[in-house]
């Protein structure tokens, strides 16, 4: 049982609404499309409303309006952010070089953080961890070697349009099969996750809603 809802009247109503919508979604599985489509619209509307609420209540209010009202002259960074947001909103009517500034800043910052983090937090430490050190266990050495071979074969499998001999062709074929094997394993994980979700929803109907907990 999910236990996400309590026993108050509001929680009881929420349980009934959730149960009815769950049944509607399961009805879509059985071929009932009209009400299912309605429930999808409901989800989209609720998600949009929730996002707006989060943005207003937890971002714009406490992180922008309140600091600016408390000390308008002391936060030039926030005024700069407001100017960038206004520029983005007015992009259709502004010259292209000016309109491109907010998107460029956003994309550049995102790429810089993601790339810098990937190098410092993943690439370098993982290369360091992959180096075989004297005194390590034989199992770790073999595991590292197997991982290196598989990585190499899969990378070779991505070679397209490059002239290659028999050995490289065989390696690329093996790499593609290994890639397929990896994707198959990943899909197996996904199947397990989704099945657990389906069983959990059924458990919600049987346990939380109908009160037939085992």
């Amino acid at each position: 049982m999910s236990g996400l809802l309590g026993t108050s009247t509001a929680d009881l109503v929420a349980t009934w609404v959730a149960a009815i919508v769950t049944l509607i979604v399961l009805g879509g599985l059985l071929g009932e499309r009209r009400v299912f489509a309605w429930s999808q619209h409901l989800l989209a509307g609720l998600a949009t409303g929730y996002l707006a609420l989060i943005v207003i209540a937890e971002v714009i209010g406490p992180r922008l309006v309140q600091p600016l009202m408390a000390d308008p002259a002391g936060r030039p960074d926030l005024w700069l952010g407001v100017a960038l947001a206004a520029t983005a909103a007015g992009a259709p009517w502004l010259p292209r070089p000016l309109a491109a500034v907010p998107a460029s800043v956003a994309i550049g910052a995102l790429a810089a953080f993601a790339l810098g983090g990937a190098v410092i937090g993943t690439l370098l430490p993982q290369i360091d961890a992959a180096i075989v050190r004297p005194g390590g266990s034989p199992a770790a050495t073999v595991g590292g070697a197997v991982a290196a071979v598989i990585t190499g074969l899969v990378l070779v499998g991505f070679l397209h349009g490059v002239p290659r001999g028999r050995a490289l062709t065989a390696a690329a074929g093996a790499g593609r099969w290994l890639l397929l094997g990896g994707l198959g394993g990943w899909l197996g994980f996904l199947l397990l996750s989704r099945l657990t979700l389906l069983v959990d929803r059924i458990g919600f109907l049987v346990g939380d809603w109908l009160g037939m907990a085992g």
């Binding site: 049982m1 999910s2 236990g3 996400l4 309590g6 399961l26 599985l29 059985l30 071929g31 929730y50 996002l51 989060i54 943005v55 937890e58 971002v59 406490p62 992180r63 910052a109 995102l110 953080f113 993601a114 983090g117 990937a118 410092i120 937090g121 993943t122 430490p125 993982q126 360091d128 961890a129 990896g182 394993g185 990943w186 994980f189 996904l190 199947l191 397990l192 996750s193 989704r194 099945l195 657990t196 979700l197 389906l198 069983v199 959990d200 929803r201 059924i202 458990g203 109907l205 049987v206 346990g207 037939m212 907990a213 085992g214």
Partner: protein, 279 residues
């Protein structure tokens, strides 16, 4: 599509759903127990939590995905109850709207379960994805700066934090925390609970020592929950884990559908080969 195939397409899912509902209350036989005999991940998690100092503060990065939360929910609740049973103070933060919704629901559940509210603080939703994580590493801002815990976090930021527990599943999971926060803070343990689908992503961080412990499969989670000693806080843990009998039924159904598709292709090829035979 024939009428028979159309009818089967509608009836079979109904049969599956009814079968799963009928199997849900069933007690799993011993051979279907989830808890793995190899409790390495559970032991690592317990060791990491044992290593926390007295009266620690743990920052909980709560960003699971709604689609996979059902899989990790019992383990997440077990971990939160375990941390509270160890007199840990918990600070919740989310970087995705989905994670924030689930964090609100879990905080409400902890309040209903009469957890010690002085040991909980809500840092709310932090926008900005990776930039938001970097911002977190520079300072923490509780949504309501009331109480000693909130004031400590507001004054000292990440320096007051003794450990980080990441509840993953969404875009900003353990990998993002390891990449953006870990290099910017002192040596504190990072632990994680993630759905199985993230296992290939997080396992290298465990092997490389960047994550102290990860519970990433239902079996690891069950092994961890089996070893919990929560005392009177057991009310905060989930009463029952995932039902394994209906999951097994579903897996068998999936294998049957896959086998049927493969079988139909093989049968088609055999028939085509026979048709070409000059008999």
């Amino acid at each position: 599509m024939t009428d028979r195939a159309r009818l089967l397409g509608r009836v079979l899912p109904l049969v599956l759903v009814v079968a799963l509902a009928a199997a849900w209350p069933l007690e799993a036989p011993s051979w279907l127990r989830l808890a793995t005999p190899d409790a390495g991940a559970a032991v690592s998690m317990r060791t990491a939590l044992d290593g926390l100092p007295e009266d620690p503060i743990v920052l909980v990065g709560f960003d699971p995905d709604i689609g996979t939360y059902a899989e990790i929910r019992p383990t997440v609740r077990g971990l939160l109850a375990d941390l509270l049973a160890r007199d840990t103070r918990l600070a919740f933060v989310s970087l995705t709207p989905e994670g924030r919704a689930l964090a609100i629901a879990e905080l409400a559940r902890l309040r209903r379960g009469e957890a010690n509210l002085a040991r909980l603080v809500d840092l709310g939703f932090v926008p900005g994805a990776e930039a938001g994580l970097v911002d977190l590493a520079r300072g923490l801002a509780p949504t309501t700066p009331d109480g000693a815990l909130a004031r400590t976090l507001a004054d000292e930021g990440m320096a007051a934090v003794d450990g980080v527990a990441v509840i993953g599943g969404n875009d900003l999971g353990p990998r993002s925390w390891v990449e953006q926060v870990r290099p910017r803070v002192d040596e504190i343990p990072f632990v994680a609970v993630t759905p199985t689908i993230l296992l290939p992503e997080v396992q290298p961080y465990v092997t490389g020592g960047q994550l102290a412990a990860v519970l990433a499969t239902p079996r690891d989670g069950a092994a961890y929950r089996d070893g919990l000693d929560l005392g009177n806080l057991s009310r905060l843990a989930e009463e029952r884990g995932p039902s394994t009998v209906p999951i097994l039924l579903g897996l068998l159904a999936a294998i049957a559908v896959l086998g049927q598709a493969l079988g139909a292709r093989v049968l088609g090829k055999v028939r085509a080969a026979r048709g070409r035979d000059p008999a």
